[in-house]
Point group: none
Chain length 121, copies 4
């Protein structure tokens, strides 16, 4: 069940996207699994079906799910691979953030420390 924070500045539809992707990455959902229907999920998180659909459209665009009108939405075969690729692309964000910190005089050790905190936790 997705955790949605309606007060967050992060749009609901993005939270849905992140939530679904996380479930797949964690193996809670596997390729071929059927996702909850748009209406059902909308009720569950008390959001509007249009908002859920917006998230699903983006997930399909990313190749993470396939939707078959009239039948439902399914986790795509390539979903895990695609998501791992997307994650690796985020390493560039780490580099960018680090560069910003480096520019401001933060020591390399401090940054690496911050990274390790995530892994030994």
């Amino acid at each position: 069940m997705l955790a949605i924070d309606k007060l967050s500045r992060v749009p609901i539809y993005e939270q849905i996207i992140e939530g679904v992707q996380k479930e797949i990455l964690l193996g809670l959902m596997k390729p071929g699994d059927q996702l909850p229907s748009i209406r059902e999920l909308a009720v569950n998180i008390s959001a509007n079906p249009n908002t859920v659909q917006k998230a699903f459209i983006e997930l399909e665009r990313r190749g993470v799910m396939v939707t078959s009108p009239g039948r439902g939405c399914y986790v795509s075969e390539d979903a895990p691979e695609i998501l791992k690729m997307r994650l690796k692309a985020k390493l560039a964000d780490i580099t960018e953030l680090s560069a910003e910190l480096a520019m401001g005089g933060v020591k390399e050790e401090e940054v690496i420390e911050a990274v390790k905190k995530a892994f030994y936790h």
Copy 2:
């Protein structure tokens, strides 16, 4: 001179804030230095004065600049220190991003590698 990308999705006023802070962090502007006037800067980057003012108000709120009504805006004495504090707070972002990568199976070494790229570059 600030580099503003008008087609970016990053709000212009944020780009101004970031730009000014960067100049201070790099030592291009020092405490006591006078900033360009709102109208002057607005013309330079062909933006709306209201937009520039919004950025200046936020910079003052952060304690990075002080406004002396009728005389202009100046980099505050504590600006460099304040900005370095703000930077360190971003270490939490690094940890958060790393945790996300860790969850997806990215190896710690890969993340540290990405950090080092920023420092040995």
Copy 3:
């Protein structure tokens, strides 16, 4: 045996129609041949009988098959001829698509090349 892609955005009933017509055009089914029963086909492609029936109704409407209540469905005598007529109507689609390409500056030779690829292949 019909090949149905349940994840396709093409409605299943259309896939059935296309599949049957293709078999007739290829001569795999001839006028007078009996088609599988609705229930049988539904089981074979694991689809809903209603879906199969919808396809059969349309095939009958097109004059490609005839239903003999209680005895089954058969390929009509005129099926091959009717299907060839329908195919020729698709030449208009080719013209329309070509016009679109022409408008965008694609050379006539390139389009003809694309056509030949289908015939010398």
Copy 4:
């Protein structure tokens, strides 16, 4: 001014996409040009702003336009090139359609004739 057929089975938002792309391909709109605002266009074609936005989101995803929140939407620099690439990709559709016709016994000359009709018209 875009021509929208509300009775068409083609969704309005797709008609908008096609219409905008056509204007760019024909050179009626050039890179850097500002598109009508979502609300303005919605009024012009008497459609809902949400519908127009759906079209614009897709156009941006294709790299044909860039949108700058608060400022408006602009034809991207690469728009003409991108659209020409997309057109060439449609040559595959021509081949596919031709293959279907070939399978049904349509002569190559007839298909080429249909292509020429689009160019000598």
